[in-house]
């Protein structure tokens, strides 16, 4: 589904990604871990097409086609979803009209007719139930006045609505208490399917108790320095990131 080959990217001339290689297949969940400043969020942003970053090398194929030249909205319509580390507030725009616009833009791209109001409201209801989301959410403005936990739940709710092929969850666990973490993880697990894939970016192993990954990669200094199965996460938890750094330097 996604293959990243020797991806390099800079911001303001400073190289953050120094040659990332990663293969993600359908049905897989990959966790990317790493210390602060290792380039985890940059990788998420670059995949989503944020223009703060300049890609200086490598290539990314998404479902067999080059991804990097596409605008962020086209990537989204093609099925890439980014769960934001810091979801953005849009005052005065209700979640309902935001989601309706998003869904219809995506449908238009896929040659489908606009979803009728009735179908849309039903979808909204179903997904709220699935994600165990407070039903008042729909009438509130996008993320406005939401608590940290509500914002993260709202990201997962949007993911449920948009049914992406590939979801990249950028530190979805940061700032969550254990209950919120469980709700978010339960939501994510309900969205796992054999025909989609997820990249879960996290600083802590804690999230991976609830979202069990097929692969764990450690990102450090702009490169993936170690890959393994979920046991790698426990090892990291135990030994800390310094262990990886030392091992690499050795």
């Amino acid at each position: 589904m996604l293959s990243i080959r020797n991806l390099k990217a800079t911001i303001n001339g400073r190289e953050i990604l120094k040659g990332i290689n990663l293969e993600v297949k359908e049905g897989e969940v990959h966790a990317i871990m790493g210390p602060n400043g290792s380039g985890k969020s940059t990788l998420a942003s670059v995949l989503a097409g944020r223009d703060l970053f300049t890609v200086t090398g490598g290539e990314v194929l998404f479902q067999g086609s080059p991804l990097l030249g596409l605008t962020p909205e086209v990537r989204a319509r093609a099925g890439i979803f980014l769960g934001f580390q810091y979801p953005v507030e849009i005052p005065g725009v209700s979640m309902t009209s935001f989601m309706r616009t998003a869904i219809n833009e995506q449908r238009k791209y896929r040659g489908l007719p606009e979803m009728s109001a009735t179908d849309f409201l039903k979808l909204m209801r179903d997904k709220k139930a699935l994600m165990e989301i407070d039903s008042a959410l729909a009438s509130r403005s996008v993320n406005e006045g939401f608590s940290g936990g509500e914002k993260k739940k709202n990201e997962i709710f949007q993911m449920a609505m948009l049914e992406p092929k590939l979801a990249i969850l950028d530190e979805t666990d940061s700032g969550l208490d254990i209950d919120a973490l469980k709700t978010v993880a339960t939501g994510v697990n309900r969205l796992r399917r054999p025909d989609n894939a997820m990249i879960v970016i996290t600083h802590y192993q804690r999230l991976l108790d609830y979202i069990v990954p097929d692969f764990v990669h450690v990102l450090s200094g702009g490169r993936i320095v170690k890959s393994g199965d979920k046991s790698l996460a426990y090892e990291l938890e135990e030994k800390g990131y310094d262990w990886i750094k030392e091992e690499n330097e050795a």
């Binding site: 909205e73 979801p87 869904i103």
Partner: protein
């Protein structure tokens, strides 16, 4: 917001003005220029009584002594008042005729503007007075409203049919000496609408006037007068459009509202005069004096405006809160794109006890547009427990536009509570990216964000107008990514 977006910013603004067509009509027009003779001839054209001509002449003589106001934050080239046609009427129109007497060309024009004048075809719940250039073309539902004692007619008809009411109220809120443009209007006004809601009557439909400037080199000077008797209620809407022309055209109107005890008047405007092209050529100069007086206790006047058009907008819909516990409201969205300039706001004059006012102003600037909020809250000596809440927000798209806030607060009573909040924000790149990431392109994202920003005001508009206004906001900002 950064260098990369400059190209987008520059291709900007091709928000096509949809109403820029011209109807080919034969006009009955007076020659260009302004002098006593012209004033007399306008009055004669309208077969006016002597007393009205007297008012016009007084206003004209007073106007001659006045100077153009220059305190607004506006750059306006000098206007040659001798180079304007002050009266131009579509020739074929028979002013008092029925539907079948209206020139089909005129009907077509209004149809094209989305304002069908055929009552059968019309949106239910709306009655319309259609004004083209200097005269009212047709007023719908006049008869059925008449059965309730409601008068809804062109100003000229009202002068003929209800001279006592006109004599009593015209100029009682905006006297001709009020300001330069009010004096000019009082001298040369040609038509407009008159609304009278009798005691205890709740007007069952939205009343609206649609103003259209068609003829070239012609100014439009209309007056609207709304009187709500004790316990009456009316919601009134006005819309305006004009053809695209390279020359600036002048629009100087007066609106007066009188609300008696327990009466309520809601006045909504969707102003979409031609704004000029993207280089600032052409467009309407819109100098309007709008004021209402809450004469009776517990009366209420509410102004809502969505200002997207005009090259220059100069208007301050105001409320004089004389009755005890009377309420004044002002909700405004003003958009300036390209080279548009707006200096708009309100005056809330608290005279009665326990009077309350609310001001919500949302300015949106894009391109090289300049947008100023100017508002006065005055609490006079006897206005015990007066309350005002003002909120003025400015939204900037791009870095070549400007937003300015000029609040004036004058309080002479220590029991008054006056609150003022102001914010300035930019549409954040992060907001746009967030929308992009959900599959929404930048143009649509800006439309969403701007409509969200203005929602508090748009919600005050009657349903059909709110939808229209939302689209209008989106169109007027098309391409103006910042």
């Amino acid at each position: 917001m950064n260098g990369d977006q400059d190209p987008i910013l520059k291709q900007v603004t091709q928000g096509e003005y949809k109403y820029g067509f011209v109807t080919d009509l034969e006009n009955d027009a007076l020659p260009k220029g302004l002098n006593e003779e012209i004033v007399r001839r306008i009055s004669a054209k309208k077969e006016e009584p002597e007393w009205l001509l007297e008012i016009r002449l007084k206003a004209f003589r007073y106007w001659l002594t006045m100077k153009t106001p220059e305190w607004a934050h506006l750059k306006i080239p000098p206007i040659d008042y001798q180079d304007i046609i002050y009266y131009s009427a579509p020739k074929s129109n028979k002013p008092t005729g029925g539907f079948e007497d209206v020139d089909p060309e005129l009907l077509k024009t209004f149809d094209k503007l989305g304002i069908p004048l055929n009552e059968q075809k019309h949106l239910s719940g709306f009655a319309v007075d259609a004004v083209m250039d200097s005269i009212s073309v047709k007023t719908t539902f006049k008869e059925s409203l008449g059965e309730l004692g409601i008068i809804f007619s062109s100003f000229s008809d009202a002068v003929r049919e209800h001279p006592d009411l006109i004599k009593k109220y015209m100029g009682s809120v905006v006297p001709y000496r009020d300001n330069f443009y009010a004096a000019l209007n009082s001298a040369v006004f040609s038509d407009g609408s008159f609304v009278y809601i009798p005691k205890g009557v709740r007007c069952p439909m939205e009343l609206s006037t649609y103003f259209r400037i068609n003829a070239a080199n012609t100014g439009q000077f209309e007056r609207t007068l709304i009187v709500a008797e004790e316990g009456a209620y009316v919601s009134y809407l006005e819309g305006c459009t004009a053809p695209m022309r390279d020359e600036n055209q002048l629009h100087a109107a007066i609106v007066e509202i009188i609300a008696h005890t327990d009466a309520e008047v809601k006045y909504s405007t969707v102003q979409n005069w031609y704004p000029g092209d993207k280089n600032g050529k052409g467009g309407i100069f819109n100098f309007v004096t709008k004021r209402g007086i809450c004469l009776g206790d517990r009366s209420k006047i509410s102004w809502t405006q969505v200002e997207t058009g005009s090259a220059v907008t100069w208007k301050y819909p105001s409320c004089i809160l004389r009755g005890e516990s009377s309420v004044g409201e002002f909700y405004s969205v003003a958009v300036t794109n390209n080279y548009q300039q707006a200096d708009t706001g309100t005056k809330m004059i608290h005279i009665g006890k326990n009077t309350r006012s609310t001001i919500v102003s949302k300015g949106i600037s894009a391109g090289k547009g300049q947008n100023s909020y100017r508002g006065l809250v005055r609490v006079t000596k006897n206005a015990d427990n007066a309350r005002n809440y003002s909120q003025c927000d400015s939204l900037l798209l791009g870095d070549q536009c400007g937003a300015h806030t000029f609040p004036y607060i004058e309080v002479d009573n220590e029991t008054a509570v006056v609150e003022h909040e102001a914010t300035t924000s930019k549409i954040g790149e992060d907001q746009i990216f967030y929308c992009n990431q959900r599959g929404i392109d930048t143009e649509t994202a800006i439309g969403l964000i701007v409509n969200g920003y203005a929602r508090e005001v748009l919600n005050k508009l009657p349903m059909e107008f709110a939808v229209e206004a939302q689209k209008l906001l989106q169109i007027s900002l098309e391409g103006s990514v910042g």
